[in-house]
């Protein structure tokens, strides 16, 4: 389907929906994606060489929480869509998710998510991240939703490329600079914990992730405690 190219009418409709009346489409892109797709939530994540580099947008606060679970545990539809460069379809998270992603499934189910879908953001043959779709009801995507999702992922990927193309070398696209794309507080905390524990920052990041999972507390809040010096490691 994707290899044969995209239905131009569908493409035009999605582009129109994703860019409607917005001089800065970044904050609304995920909300528009969820609306076009008729799902509860949508999130766009940038991953390169297996590393999660940032969140472009989330459609709502619930999706933000689900994305945070995925970021903390480094497992979920987004990670798999990136790795396989193919859609990841889990229409019944309760039944199908536990073996595939034990931690992520538990976290997402607790937040009320019942079905998850991931689509790679492909730029030519390269993958720069994934589009995640979350739904509060069990069920497959219809053929129409599937086709729309492929188009949304395509348009979103190219939109990010388009933003970056005017930023120039060494700079980050204005649209990505204006939001907390790269999770500043978590990375600050990783730097602090690396000194506290005498480990590398990557190891410190793992410690924070593990603590967040064990304490069942969002990683952003754990990191804020570290930066606020209410929590020390080591």
């Amino acid at each position: 389907m994707a290899e044969r190219g995209l239905d131009p009418v569908r493409l035009a409709r999605v582009v129109a929906a994703l860019t409607a009346g917005e001089s800065n489409p970044q904050p609304s892109m995920c909300a528009a994606s969820a609306a076009v797709m008729h799902v509860s939530g949508a999130g766009l994540v940038l991953i390169m060489r297996g590393r999660t580099l940032g969140t472009v947008c989330v459609s709502d606060s619930l999706t933000e929480s689900v994305e945070e679970v995925q970021y903390t545990l480094r497992e979920g539809p987004c990670v798999d869509a990136f790795r396989t460069k193919a859609p990841v379809l889990v229409p019944d998270l309760n039944r199908l998710g536990a073996t595939r992603w034990p931690g992520f499934s538990a976290g997402a189910l607790a937040l009320g998510v019942r079905a998850v879908f991931g689509f790679p953001l492909l730029i030519g043959t390269a993958c720069i991240g994934a589009l995640n779709l979350y739904h509060d009801q069990i069920g497959d995507l219809s053929d129409d939703q599937m086709a729309d999702a492929v188009v949304v992922a395509h348009v979103a990927g190219w939109a990010v490329m388009d933003w970056q193309s005017v930023a120039g070398p060494g700079s980050l696209a204005r649209q990505l600079e204006s939001s907390d794309t790269h999770r500043a507080v978590v990375n600050q905390a990783a730097g602090m914990v690396s000194v506290q524990d005498g480990v590398t920052v990557d190891e410190a990041l793992m410690l924070i992730r593990a603590y967040s999972f064990a304490e069942d507390r969002p990683i952003t809040l754990v990191a804020a405690d570290v930066v606020g010096r209410d929590l020390r490691f080591g």
């Binding site: 990010v160 490329m161 970056q164 060494g170 790269h182 730097g191 690396s194």
Partner: protein, 245 residues
């Protein structure tokens, strides 16, 4: 199939190839072949300007036309050159007319059996990137309607080629994006390291990192990476964020 149907088919087919990485040579070849069907001409060819602005052969519907285009490039005159240089359609309906306009090119076209030779520029806004050549074994130039179709085909070919250039450049953009995001991450991590080591707030840590970076005439992301890998120790950083006068 009606002409209108053929047109819609062609444009939808071409638009279909525009959405991802694709073979630009194949794309132009398809365009040249469709041009022959749509415009009832004998042959169609595409010439593109290289980076120095010299026209080069890109695609052709027939081997015979390729030879004529080859001669056109050698003598550096003909409908394609005029369309490219003047950024306007060139219509020539007879061998006599051709002989007057292009004395060196005209005999080659006639030898190959082409009696009418036309060309339309390939342009996007003010940028002209090449021209579409349309040769016919019958005399008589393209009419107004044909000309409109020919220009539309040249336009979509232009979009296709420019799109392909964007696809090519996108590899650079995605590595720039990766680098820019990684720099942001490194700066935040370095702030944390300095804040903890020097027992200051992260804002204060950022100020001293910036001060050091400015004094040493470096890049912020380089300083950050060296703090992370231990090349720069936080104790080497200035105690004061602002220079004291």
């Amino acid at each position: 199939m009606t002409r209108e149907q053929l047109l819609i088919d062609t444009f939808v087919g071409l638009a279909d190839t525009l959405v991802d990485e694709y073979d630009i040579i194949d794309f132009m070849q398809t365009l040249a072949e469709r041009g022959v069907d749509l415009l009832a001409v004998s042959a169609a060819g595409i010439m593109l300007a290289d980076t120095e602005g010299n026209l080069r052969h890109a695609a052709c519907s027939s081997e015979q036309m390729r030879l004529v285009e080859f001669f056109e490039l050698q003598v550096e005159e003909g409908p394609c050159f005029d369309a490219f240089r003047d950024n306007k359609p060139i219509l020539c309906g007879s061998p006599d007319d051709a002989a007057l306009r292009w004395p060196r090119f005209a005999p080659h076209a006639l030898d190959a059996g082409y009696h009418a030779v036309s060309a339309v520029p390939m342009r996007l806004r003010s940028q002209v990137i090449g021209a579409l050549n349309l040769f016919s074994s019958h005399t008589g130039a393209l009419n107004q309607e044909d000309l409109g179709v020919a220009q539309a085909m040249a336009d979509i070919a232009t979009i296709g080629i420019l799109h392909q250039r964007v696809v090519r450049d996108s590899r650079d953009f995605s590595s720039q994006l990766e680098l820019a995001l990684e720099s942001r991450i490194a700066i935040e991590q370095a702030k944390g390291i300095v804040a903890e080591h020097n027992r200051v707030s992260v804002d204060r840590a950022f100020e001293v990192i910036r001060r050091f970076t400015r004094d040493q005439n470096r890049l912020l992301s380089d300083t950050a990476r060296q703090i992370i890998d231990g090349t720069i120790s936080p104790s080497e950083l200035p105690r004061e964020a602002h220079r004291t006068h």
